[in-house]
């Protein structure tokens, strides 16, 4: 019964994700191929000859009806063909896949740092509610989330890269470097991302903890005479941290948004800098492919989070079978 409930939940959830991605693809398509008006003109500039513009538009297939263009684009996309870059004159997919791989490395380093520390920070804050340590973690974390990555990035580069000279200021490692060297190069770029995410995760963990600590069931557990650590481990933590799982997943989106800046700042070849370069050069196929890829990553991450949440939460897993 449990497995079937989860399966039907999963199928429903996947269907919803697909709808969301479909809508997103329309928006991306509109943004990349309709809003700019005349793409050929946008690429060639205001001084180019009208015939050259028309020819370019024709060769890019931009003189066909919108529906045809959309269908052509999306049907190729789902088969892995992301179109041809205007700038590189080469298929987009390999660029996106390479960049995505690099970005994953950076994101992973940031996540490995921030998830345990953020949760720990939230727990410490909640156990010391309204004491100084709580205010420092809460307000500090909250402030860190609104600091733009390029601001903290610049400060870290100056501090650790230029003045202290501890860490390399560009995330460009020598070819053939091992895992640890790569991580060494990625620590500095991961720090601004860490700061942004720390506040979110700590705040969520803190409020979840406070809610669980104030809950009636915690009172029951304490008044049973259970030792404090048993109360926390067995009764509080599980209920407190369930909502945090969802938050961590939704933060993947923001993480990737931060990548655009961080990768540019640290000259790192990831999906963020790919999008940035494409935006600079008005390379719409690359831009669209990059954005839709990010959407897919986000959809998959929230899907996993929801699934995890429902597996861990007996209320959803078992329903009420009265």
């Amino acid at each position: 019964m449990g497995a079937r409930a989860i399966l039907s939940f999963l199928l429903k959830r996947i269907a919803l994700s697909i709808v969301t991605l479909f809508l997103l693809s329309i928006m991306v398509f509109l943004g990349g191929q309709v809003l700019p008006g005349n793409v050929g003109r946008a690429i060639l500039g205001p001084l180019a000859d009208q015939r050259a513009v028309d020819a370019l538009n024709h060769s890019l297939g931009l003189d066909r009806p919108l529906l045809v263009q959309y269908w052509d684009w999306i049907s190729h996309f789902v088969q892995g063909d992301m179109g041809t870059s205007y700038i590189f004159r080469a298929p987009v997919a390999p660029f996106v896949i390479d960049a995505l791989g690099n970005s994953m490395k950076l994101a992973l380093v940031a996540f490995i740092m921030v998830v345990p520390l953020g949760i720990l920070g939230g727990i410490i804050a909640a156990l010391n509610v309204n004491r100084p340590i709580d205010r420092i973690i809460s307000l500090g974390g909250l402030s860190a989330t609104v600091l733009p990555e390029f601001v903290t990035g610049i400060i870290f580069i100056l501090l650790f890269g230029v003045w202290l000279n501890w860490l390399p200021i560009a995330a460009v490692w020598p070819p053939g470097s091992g895992v640890f060297t790569q991580i060494y190069y990625l620590i500095l770029p991961a720090l601004p991302l860490f700061l942004v995410l720390f506040g979110y995760i700590a705040r969520m963990a803190r409020s979840g903890m406070i809610e669980a600590l104030d809950a009636d069931y915690t009172r029951t557990a304490v008044l049973k005479g259970l030792p404090w650590h048993t109360v926390i481990w067995r009764h509080v933590l599980r209920n407190a941290l369930l909502p945090t799982i969802t938050v961590i997943a939704t933060q993947t989106g923001y993480l990737i948004g931060g990548l655009v800046v961080v990768e540019t700042l640290f000259r790192y070849q990831g999906i963020g800098s790919l999008i940035f370069t494409a935006a600079r050069g008005k390379d719409f196929p690359v831009l669209e492919a990059g954005i839709l890829t990010i959407g897919i990553i986000y959809a998959v991450a929230t899907l996993i989070a929801d699934l995890l949440y429902s597996v861990l939460n007996p209320r959803i897993r078992l329903g009420t079978d009265q």
Binding site: K224, G225, W228, H235, L318
Partner: protein
Amino acid sequence: MTDLSTPNALELHHLSVAYRVGGRNRAVLRDLSLTIRPGEAYGLVGESGCGKSTVALSVVRYLPRNGVITAGEIALVGHNVMKLDNESLRRMRAESVSMVYQDPGKALNPSIRIGRQMTEIFELRGISDQAAVDQAISMLNRVRISDPIRVMQRYPHQLSGGMQQRVGIAMALASDPTMLILDEPTTGLDATVEAEVLDLIAKLRQELSASILFISHNLAVVSRMCDRVGVLYAGMLVEEGTTAEVFNNPRHPYTVALLRCLPRGGQRKDQIRLDTIPGFLPAPGATITGCPFADRCALADSRCHNELPPLHDLGGRLSRCHYHERAQDLPRTTPGSIAAAPAAHGREPVLRIKDLNKTYAAHGHALRAVNDVSLDLMPGQTLGLVGESGSGKTTFARLLLGLVPADSGGSMQLDGQPLASKLESRSADQVKAMQIVFQNPDSALNRAHSIRHIMGRALRTLAGLKGAAQQKRLIELVRSVRLTERHLSVKPRQLSGGLKQRVAIARAFAGDPRIVVCDEPTSALDVSVQAAILNLLADLQTKEHVSYIFISHDLAVVRYLSDHIAVLYLGRIMEIGPSERVFSGPHHPYTEALLSAVPKLDETEPSRVRLDGEIPSAVNPPSGCVFHTRCPRKIGAICEEQEPPLFDSEPEHRIRCHIPFEELARLQKKQEVIPA
């Protein structure tokens, strides 16, 4: 200080507790002393805000973060609770004292199986693995859970409220405590379930040796469960004595007044108005110079206002009143007499309902919340709707008002005119002819608007009044619910619960309605406030000649206000008839059980009709008579196979039962149920 051989289970010595709010200490308990002897059951009663739950939390040292014990001592089984270090405190909680909580659904951990939550208690005492499981099972057996092994595998949300509370009681008793604290353990449970839980507690008391501190707002429940009782008012003990003494022969004006507020012994709106307690509880933290009750007491003189009365010892009982010997001479604050005899009513019903049904779709199942309900409502009369959760009474009210559309097929008539099931299809006159007073005024009044705005808007849309005419009527209306113009400029949040409910009532009367639906209008209020609201509703009915559909789970309240009563169970009318006939019987076995389930102050010996099992789900109602699964008078296969018709048993009195009326009369005579 304490007798070493058998120390008292609990002693409070001059306990004062305060909550820190906005940098100031607000006193909640003031100089509270009481003693609970070994094996004794002590009841603590009082209205909301009197500090009764704070007593419980102080004893187990689990006050909220801002709670501080400002003076006094607590001795639990001879140990000074406040001097215990963390480890001794933990051991005391594990070994000596247990608590049962008001909201069992929240008191159990939602993500841990019942079994684990039980066994961890035994593990604390060094019993592990299989032995702990066996002990847990025997404990669950003890609280009459029929299939403990299955229940151990469940999560709390998979159990009904009554089951959850049984588990809560099992958990509390698992450590074999010396002191058991029950904090409103049955509040929020349905009447028949409450009765089961109270029976269980009473029975367990005989089996176990624990002393009991029973905290409740419900005087009747305490009178049934406890040997001695203490009455709390504004954080002070105002009276204490044996249950029988305090409730039959009270010696403090507050207790006297409180007992008079309850509709008892079959009082009815056309005989007497209920007495009320004027004024308000002192605000938490207010400085009290004299007697805390003086402002509201008709016996009070200048001595009462200036000098705090001591707890007079009246030979085994206590009263904190200067004039305790005269307490029962407390004059009525509300005249008991009725302003005018009810006018002769018309013979044509104002509302005629035929075969009303409502089906909801719930998770792919059809849930029939209201099932073939037919009834008439006479002008100027009250129809009481009684039933437990899932009976469909609130859905029925919403159908009448058009807030939810009924299934097609049935019919409604207002003053002989067809009444559409959808609100949008009703005429303007029909819309304003039917209004509602909701249960919770905090939800019913828009907290963003002033009382003037709320009332003005109702007058404008329902009565079509503007400008000066609106102002004039507004003031009339406000006075008719005994508020003053001073109340117009404030927002709902700035008024007490009773005053808010008056505003809600005034709003319902803005458009001169023909029918007002009252959906549990007093169940969120304290009894002293409830009495005033019931009086007001009765007076308004006499004056405005309005009809009420009065929904309540409190049978005494329904009886006071109703001319006719319909008893609902799983969306069906099980019994309907004139109020006195329904109460005096013979009645449907379900009505019989419901009546006997309610604890009564006047009750001498509890002879109860027991109901087995849980209220079935409306998604999957039992076959045949829907009550057969719990019916103590089930006669055989016919009950399981055939749904009985609503049978005319005497004029106007109809019962849905296979047992013939005469047979019901014979069966129920033997057991002489004392009415509410």
